[in-house]
Amino acid sequence: MPRRTDLKHIMVIGSGPIVIGQACEFDYSGTQACRVLREEGLRVSLINSNPATIMTDPEFADATYVEPITAEYVEKAIADQLERGYPVDAILATLGGQTALNTAIALDEAGVLAKYDVELIGADIPAIHRGEDRQIFKDIVREVGGDVPRSAVCHTMDQVRATVAELGLPVVIRPSFTMGGLGSGMAYTDADLERLAGLGLSASPTSEVLIEESVLGWKEYELELMRDGNDNAVVVCSIENIDPMGVHTGDSMTVAPAMTLTDREYQVMRDLGLKILRAVGVATGGCNIQFAVNPKDGRLIVIEMNPRVSRSSALASKATGFPIAKIAAKLAIGYTLDEISNDITKATPAAFEPTLDYVVVKIPRFAFEKFPGADPTLTTTMKSVGEAMSIGRNFAEAFGKAMRSMETKASGFWTGPAREELSLEQLLEKIAVPTDGRIYDVERALSLGATVEQVHQATGIDPWFLDQLVLVIGIAAEVRGADVLDATLLRRAKRFGLSDLQISVLRSDLANETAVRNLRRELGVRPVFKTVDTCAAEFEANTPYHYSAYETDPAAESEVAPQTVKPKVIILGSGPNRIGQGIEFDSSCVHAAMALREAGFETVMVNCNPETVSTDYDTSDRLYFEPLTAEDVLEVIAAEQESGTVAGVIVTLGGQTPLKLAGVLQEEGITILGTQPDAIDLAEDRGRFGDLLTSAELPAPAFGMATSFEQASKVAAGIGYPVLVRPSYVLGGRGMEIVYDEASLADYIDRATEITDDHPVLVDRFLDDAIEIDVDALCDGTEVYLGGVMEHIEEAGIHSGDSASVLPPITLGRGDIEKVRQYTEAIALGGRVVGLLNVQYALKDETLYVLEANPRASRTVPFSSKATAVQLAKAAARIMTGTSIADLRAEGMLSPRGDAGTLPSVAPVAVKEAVMQFHRFRKADGSGVDSLLGPEMRSTGEVMGIDTAFGPAFAKSQTGSYGSLPTSGTVFVSVANKDKRSMVFPVKRLADLGFTILATEGTADMLSRNGINAQVVRKHYEGSGNIVEMIKAGQVDLVINTPYGQSGTRVDGYEIRTAAVATDIPCITTVAGAAAAIQGIEALTLQNVGVTPLQVLQDRLVEAVKAQAALADAAAGVGA
């Protein structure tokens, strides 16, 4: 079936901000979709509020709406396209995660699809319901002959006992019609059963509990399937979870392909998967089905399905080389699998099932350290924030590589900080509870002599995986015990995934990983590079998608093809997503690949994050799916040097991960492009950076360094409280806190165990009530180009990644921006920056303070780029490879004249808002974690609101991140004395707009004196019925709470803020913020919030910039 001819214009729905459970995998899939649809000559419109995505780059769609992903805004976008003369024929919502799918359902329910005669392609609404409604889905599984967990609805304890007699313990008890899983639990014993079922029956308003068979500890599998419009269907990949049932698959370590199924068992699963796919009726595209297998008797049950492209699809695509999203997009417009060619072989069709001759391991990355007090137990609620994938020629090799890809303190067994000494019994008890890092304790238990059976009993991990660990432990023992580490043993150790670092820990005669590296080189123990080709080498591969492996044969075959024509640039990616380092950095890496490819370089990407666009084999000329460690990166570089000329390596676009490698690479004599390692160190070393500021006469908040409490206390006393304390060399403000007195300083030093002479703690003066300014700039060594000047809407003190900001700045004067320019130039030129630079400033009482500077791509680069219509990371990549800013201006990549500091007045206003995930985490007692915002970054993602004026842009940013600003309801106002005067007008405006005003006593008095009727409400510490309780009860729609400076009641504000975040209502903490919110509310109330494609906004800006430049040229006597 060829492509449908009736479809001319498709609207793709993205997935919005990065949140836990929905990360950049949907940018990867959406980007592929947009690319495919445009290649097919279709018009593509796109809606996605996340500016850090590649898909929202203007060249990926004909019309890009950086707008909130809600039915309301999608309808606006459809209407806008219609008005512009481009009616939308169809919506593709299966590549944008649950957000897109839910939006599609909402559009259908609101009648929007019918109203505009828009078809939903890829999946129809009934199929989505069949896939997602648990009961309907269970029925379908049974109809096609599958099995589901057995269960019975019971109304009495007798019925409960009878049911359990049949099912056997343990069982899951789920009371009907209770909120948030209240009263549900797992009964392991008769006593548990009596207690839990009894409670459940009484908790249920209908005295009804569901008693369900427990599948905890069963083997867990996933299949990724695809189906086309001609009913051809294939299984792209099988995935086996190492952590058994009970841990969310997103939080499990997983392996592809499945390792412990015989063909018979696998085929039963495959048959069932295909039957379910057809019965649910996924029309075209991908889906994911989860299975559980009882390890005792092989009983197979179906758990659930996702009738759309999922996180696992991204993993499966990277694991197999079969681009699920790309093919799903083609299927959605009518092609069949046999008509689509396999990109990798070119010669064979996509109607096949990839076969792997390697093993893939994925390990999730957690961020519990960001949420103090959060219970680190892994459950069926996903908590990981990212993941790394690795490829090896056996399980052990892939597993070792994945472990060292995690960017955690330990990078594989036997490395990292010492762990608490535990006896075997204690360890066996500990590993029974799945947690982040459990596998380290599993290894310790096995090393202490636990049998595979004991560990299997404790963890439910399949003995096959445990045997593999035993194998690795045995090899470690050989390495430790051998008199001489000879080539054979070293090769054997490498073949089973041991890193140079691990070997150095095991061998007393090898001081560090460098020593092991040198020994390996001496003995000629080097990896070969194999290819991911979808077909286990049956056909020739045309796509250089490589991974390293150690083979026994010293003359083993490497598959890196020679390429001697073009110079190569190696771009180091950013590794697994974590808080503070995510998709924004990947975006910069991808941009570099695009720009350099176009500029005539051969681009080589190294990364280990399967969710990203950078690890799409289409992004660069060559892709190495490898850990970003010195060892692995050096081997990639060596392979590339052997096959051609390496112009250099880019380390400044992938965040802190590649930046850390700069030193080692330079020691190895490898050319670093752009800012040199010494200059990187200059910016990161507080002493050296301080000297730079002093010599340039730039003010910085007073600061000092300390390696003990006594020192810190002395420094703080000298500077004056409050002070900002943090460890040196961190990203995302990890471990950063504002400290108000000596006692809390002592407490901080106590907790910050990592302080050593090499890693002192930094103590800065905290600038209360300052305006924070974030600057992205480019420097080529002689000229500095301001790429974006962002004004924070939040007060200073909240991590820049967590605070809302606006570009162009709305309250800064021309003089302020000039000062920002001068300072940035001084830092960039003085700091010998070549490429990107990010500087954070605080403006307080007319003084501009330099807070910090980072000579690398920042989190805000994609945001600045979209807001200013200049792709900064692309320009940076060009600058790093020798092109000057002047040349880039002439080329049109940068503005012909001026920069983001001189934006014309028609420039759109863009607001960035952060998205928090506090609701995902619970303390061990079940209460919510502290959602206090501070200098440590906690947000996982961000959205952009863009419009012609601040009000609507701000409103959109709020809608995209939290839900809409209220247009009616109740506002709570509590402001510091110094803010009371400036708050009168905003609050009066809210009252005029019809809001009910609540205020604490002092504020209410002030308001009533100004003729505003406010109801008095108790402060948090004033007992029950207080404001915090009211917020939690959902009685407040908006909070305006400016902190009271250093008076101590600041804590009350934080309680209020915590409550606001927990209930997902906007909370404004500054006068500027209040003004912003009111502008937003007015915009919403007047109902004039429209949508405009990014391309239109940018074109308008570019035209104005050109006109401005022409005028300036004329004035300067240049030109005619």
Partner: protein, 384 residues
């Protein structure tokens, strides 16, 4: 575990060194690679792999040990087994032994630790070729070992049917009510084939390859089945003649794999040796009758030479290529228009492999039904 060196020696002189597993000694055969990620046991016990040294591209082998009930025949038929990594211990609730134990018991030589990807790429570009595995004390000089390999017969021209066919006829009874009976000519049949008939109410009389048309007629069967099997179809003149006898009598006929090549030759088509063959469980095939694509299990080094997409005239009337491999356009099956016969080059019985093509057994049953007058129940059918 003490490790004994073993080497794989190819006839073109390339040598891969690894570790011996399974039985000690030497093994010779044609080096072929199989790409299935599951089903090593079914592969090893598939008679079609007779006299072949199978290279598994899946890197972790032995994960599920040896499961007695999953055998596709009574013995391991491969000449040798080449893998990358052997599991230290199997994990399956059904396992009855480990892979190396079973290979040792049956005297099958294996070599592990080989860069199987490099080997596969070599075979892909040079084509399947003769090889030998030399384990432990059998390892000598490269020259001697290559000479030993070159002294063995190649696969072209090999008549291996006699080595794999059953010596005695046996019957696999229909499950439930018997609707039809077929004679299965055992050219190396897999256990799942008679099982697939039986599941459809068809009793399978499995006959030695030496059977005659009289033997078949004596059974009074409703149809004839030509099984899969090893070797060069060009050597199977006797079976081809038998097939013509079946076609002459318009007895419904179904062939799989080797059986497809036999039917092809009976219809007058040639057969030829593929460069490296199709051996895997992910092979896409288009059924031209339905227009649908299925993922099939395949294991063939030879193929029928016929033009797809046109109606071909044969001594038995019009014939069309009914199935085409989508990877390379190879003929994957034949449909006769004027006699009740069809065949497929792939394995609808799978084992190992996907079940997408199982419906072809139903298609044969439909053919049997069409050829059998409704009133005449095969239970009471009189001998011809």
């Amino acid at each position: 575990m003490s490790e004994t060196t073993a080497v794989l020696v190819l006839e073109d002189g390339r040598i891969f060194t690894g570790i011996s597993f399974g039985a000690a000694g030497t093994a010779f055969g044609e080096a072929v690679f199989a790409t299935g990620m599951t089903g090593y046991q079914e592969t090893l016990t598939d008679p079609s792999y007779r006299r072949q040294v199978v290279v598994a591209t899946a890197p972790q082998i032995g994960n599920t040990g040896w499961v007695e009930e999953d055998n596709e025949s009574s013995a391991i038929h491969v000449a040798g087994f080449v893998i990358r990594d052997l599991s230290p211990a199997p994990s399956s609730w059904r396992a009855t032994a480990t892979l190396p134990e079973e290979m040792e018991r049956q005297g099958i030589v294996g070599v592990a630790g080989v860069d199987t990807r490099a080997l596969t790429r070599h075979l892909r570009s040079r084509g399947a070729m003769r090889c030998g595995i030399f384990a432990g004390s059998a390892v000598t000089t490269p020259e001697e070992m290559v000479a030993a390999v070159l002294a063995t017969p190649g696969m072209a021209g090999a008549d291996l049917t006699g080595e794999v066919t059953t010596t005695e006829a046996y019957t696999v009874q229909a499950v439930g009510e018997q609707k039809y009976t077929v004679a299965c000519v055992d050219l190396g049949i897999k256990a799942n084939t008679p099982r697939s008939f039986a599941e459809r109410g068809v009793t399978a009389h499995v006959l030695p390859a030496t059977c005659t048309i009289e033997d078949i007629l004596a059974l009074g069967v409703d149809g004839v089945f030509l099984s899969n099997g090893p070797g060069d179809p060009a050597t199977a003149d006797r079976i081809v003649a038998l097939t013509k006898e079946v076609l002459d009598r318009r007895i419904p006929l179904f062939g799989i794999c080797f059986g497809n090549q036999i039917l092809g030759r009976a219809l007058g088509f040639g057969t030829y040796k593929l460069k490296f063959g199709h051996r895997g469980i992910n092979q896409p095939v288009k059924d031209h009758l339905t227009g649908k694509t299925m993922v099939t299990s395949q294991n063939h080094g030879f193929a029928v030479d016929a033009a797809a997409g046109e109606v071909l005239q044969t001594p038995y009337g019009k014939v069309e290529v009914g199935f085409t491999g989508l990877n390379d356009g190879v003929v994957e099956g034949l449909n006769c228009h004027d006699v009740p016969a069809f065949s497929v080059q792939f394995h609808p019985e799978a084992a190992a492999g996907p079940h997408d093509a199982r419906y072809l057994f139903d298609r044969f049953v439909t053919m049997l039904a069409a050829a059998t007058p409704e009133t005449e129940n095969s239970n009471s059918k009189v001998t011809a």
